[in-house]
Point group: C2
C-alpha cells in the first residue's frame, strides 16, 4: 500500500511534530493510528486475523433479529461494545411481512455500499487524498421463482448488482480512478459477494 | 415446491372454510396469502422479478449510512414503506472507528442468518411444519492484510463462514433435514454469498 504523510513539518520541534502526528486527521481518520496499525500488522501478520460473529433469533413470520457484540481480532477478544447492536429483518406485505425492518436483499446492498465506502476512505487517507463526499446508489435483481422453488432453472439470489458512486475528492480524475479501482479490488464485502465464499451450515433439532 | 394445507375441515360450511383459509396462520404466516402469491407467480412469471435498492452516504471517517425505502416487484413500484429504514455502519476502535454501528462483515452475517431463517419458515409453512424456535450462531474469518493491501496473496473478504442453527420443530428429524437442505439451496442470500454475483461498480467525480 502506498502511504504518504503530507503534513509533517520537519523544522518544528520534535514534541510539536509528535503532537501534530498523533492528532492529525484526514477524512475523519486519525492518520497516525492508521499508519501505526499497518506497521503493527506488517511486523506480526497474525494480528490481521479477525473472526466476526452474529447471533440471530426468529421472532415470528418473516421477522427475525440479530445481536452483534464481540469479535476476535488483533490477537484478542474485543470488548469495546458495552451493549450489543440489534437489527431486525422483515419483508414488505407483498412478500408476506409487515416492514419491521429492511429485507435481507436490501441489507446485502447496505453492507456492500458501506464496505466499498469505508475501503475508499481508508485508502484515500493512506494516499493523502481528501474526500469531500461520497454518495452511492445501488440496485440488485432477484427473480423470486428461484427462492420459491417454482423453477429450478432460475438462479437463487441476486443475478446482478449495480452500484454507482458520486465522489467529490481533492485530486485529479486519474488519481480518483486509481483509488476506486484499488478500493474495488480491496473491499472485503465487494469481494465476498462477487467471489464465492464457502459457508458451512449445520443444524440440530432441539 | 410441495404444498399442503393440512387444516381445512371439509365438512364445514363453505363460508366457514373460506374464513378459516383466509385467516389461518402457521409460523406467523398467512397460509392463504402464501399459496395465493405462489399461484399468481406461477401464472405470470414476470411478477417474480424484483429489483431491490439502497442509497448510502458517507458521514465521516468509518461511518456511513444507508437509506432503504422503495423497490420494484410483482409488476409495480412498492409504496408500503411510509418512512425509509436507515442503518449506519461503523468500525470498532481497533479498526479506526467509534462503534456507531456494526461493521460491514457483521452486517453480512446478519443478513445471511436472516435469509436462511426466513427461507426456512417459508418452506416449513408450505410443508405444514410448525416451527417453535430457530436460533443461529455465525462466525466468519477475515484476514485484514487483504483489505489493507499488505499481502496480495491474502484473499480479500471472508475466507469461510460457519453457521449453526438450533431448531425446534413439530416434525421428525428426517423431515427437518430435508427442510433444511431445501432452505439452504433456496435462500437468496446464502446463494448470493456462496456463489459469485456480478457487481457493476461505476463512479463519477463530482
Amino acid at each position: 500500500m502506498e502511504m504518504q504523510i503530507n503534513n509533517l513539518k520537519h523544522n518544528e520541534p520534535k514534541e510539536k511534530i509528535m503532537e501534530t502526528t498523533l492528532t492529525k486527521k484526514l477524512n475523519g481518520l486519525n492518520t497516525a493510528q492508521l499508519f501505526e496499525t499497518v506497521e503493527h500488522i506488517k511486523g506480526q501478520p497474525h494480528l490481521a486475523q479477525f473472526r466476526f460473529r452474529a447471533k440471530n433469533r426468529w421472532i415470528d413470520g418473516t421477522v427475525n433479529r440479530s445481536t452483534i457484540q464481540g469479535f476476535y481480532g488483533a490477537g484478542r477478544e474485543d470488548e469495546s461494545r458495552k451493549t450489543p447492536f440489534e437489527y431486525a429483518t422483515d419483508e414488505p406485505p407483498i412478500l408476506l411481512g409487515n416492514n419491521e425492518g429492511a429485507n435481507t436483499g436490501e441489507f446485502l446492498l447496505h453492507t456492500l455500499a458501506g464496505c466499498v465506502t469505508t475501503t475508499t476512505i481508508l485508502h484515500a487517507t493512506a494516499r493523502g487524498i481528501k474526500i469531500n463526499s461520497i454518495s452511492t446508489e445501488l440496485e440488485g435483481d432477484v427473480d423470486v421463482q428461484g427462492a420459491l422453488g417454482l423453477d429450478e432453472s432460475v438462479p437463487v439470489g441476486f443475478t446482478e448488482i449495480r452500484m454507482n458512486m458520486t465522489i467529490s475528492a481533492d485530486c485529479p480524475a486519474k488519481e480518483l480512478d486509481e483509488l476506486m479501482e484499488y478500493a474495488k479490488s480491496h473491499s472485503p464485502i465487494f469481494n465476498s459477494i462477487s467471489r464465492p465464499v464457502p459457508i458451512q451450515l449445520g443444524w440440530n433439532k432441539r
